[in-house]
Amino acid sequence: MDTGLILFTAAFGLILIGSAGIVLSTHLVRIIFGIALLEAGANLLLLLATFREGSSAPIIVDGRIPAAMADPVPQALVLTAIVIGVGILALALSLALRVQRAYGTLDLREVRQRLEQDIANEAGIDMSSSRDAPQAVVTRQEDPA
């Protein structure tokens, strides 16, 4: 099979699986992992966009200059993107930890319901009086810890 096709399919798959994780799942940690997958796919795509057949790494070893060298610009960009991705991942996970501690769940539907409930309580109104209030989904009868 063609190498290019395999690599492009990998980038395509990573981007699509990551996006699917972000829009389809309601669990916060899964959404964060979706972002990480999407990032990996985007990085791979960026490198593939400038790949040239038969080119070597843009590094001079022992004074020998290779005939064809890969483009160093996208490599530097991907280096940047990976580091920023790690920062985003760490920050997102610490925010998820806080959500878990505050609401006792990481399910976005439940978190949203609790959030709206809190807002309604603070405002001193009944939740059902708001047109935009979320429909009741899973009702957990636990005491909020």
Partner: protein, 228 residues
């Protein structure tokens, strides 16, 4: 309903990306900026690794902003997680194998990390990659013994010093009438350890900053109380 709209969105996204891929040719892309940089980087910057020449020589300002993003993420992470409550329960020490392995790996990871940072302008690697290895050198002992805590004050001292010296080297170039972060000092012989002017110094600063930031952030995450 929400599922349906999400699936439709995914279908559209997939078609869009597939259409972009149709226009891309694999393996025969005409290089534009890359070829020009590959032709002149050895003379202009003096680094044998052209990726380093791009990261620190041609777009050093971007790298500074990237470090700022990492700093912001680490600071925000610390802010969000907060200090663990006094007397919070900690995990017990791990087993013998992990403890012995952590002790054995610490000097090895330290040496490898420093080697990769110092040779960033010659071989694949550099401040970011070596910094991550340095961070893992300091984080693995915490995994082995969760009871010990990291000296966060000292970590932030190293981090602040590294960030300040990166900016200071950039400002030194401005004193000479050049643009911010222009490579300074003698370029030296191509491929020698002491070459490429001020680029190795910048990479040492980057490595220390990335290492201390990540180690601090990971330690903060592990010090957070476990949720029952």
């Amino acid at each position: 309903m929400r599922r349906l709209s999400s699936a439709l969105f995914l279908l559209g996204l997939g078609l869009l990306i597939a259409a972009i891929f149709q226009t891309m040719e694999f393996g025969s892309v005409a290089p534009i900026a890359g070829q020009a940089i590959n032709a002149v980087a050895a003379d202009q910057v003096g680094a044998a690794n052209f990726v380093t020449a791009v990261v620190l020589g041609y777009r050093g300002f971007d790298t500074l902003l990237e470090l700022t993003i990492l700093f912001t993420a680490a600071t925000a992470g610390g802010l969000v997680l907060g200090k663990p409550a006094a007397g919070a329960s900690r995990d017990p020490d791990s087993g013998f194998i992990l403890r012995a392995g952590a002790d054995l790996f610490f000097p090895l990871l330290l040496v490898v990390g420093l080697y990769i940072i110092l040779h960033g302008h010659l071989t694949p690697g550099g401040g970011f990659q070596g910094g991550v290895i340095l961070a893992s050198a300091f984080f693995i002992p915490i995994l082995a013994r969760p009871g010990t805590s990291m000296d966060h004050r000292r970590v932030s001292m190293i981090e602040g010093f590294a960030g300040a010296s990166f900016i200071f080297i950039g400002l030194l170039a401005m004193l000479g009438g050049k643009a911010f972060l222009t490579p300074l000092l003698d370029k030296g012989e191509l491929g020698a350890l002491l070459s490429a002017g001020s680029l190795p110094l910048l990479y040492i600063a980057v490595g220390l900053k990335v290492g201390s930031e990540l180690a601090g952030l990971l330690a903060q995450l592990s010090e957070t109380e476990a949720i029952d």
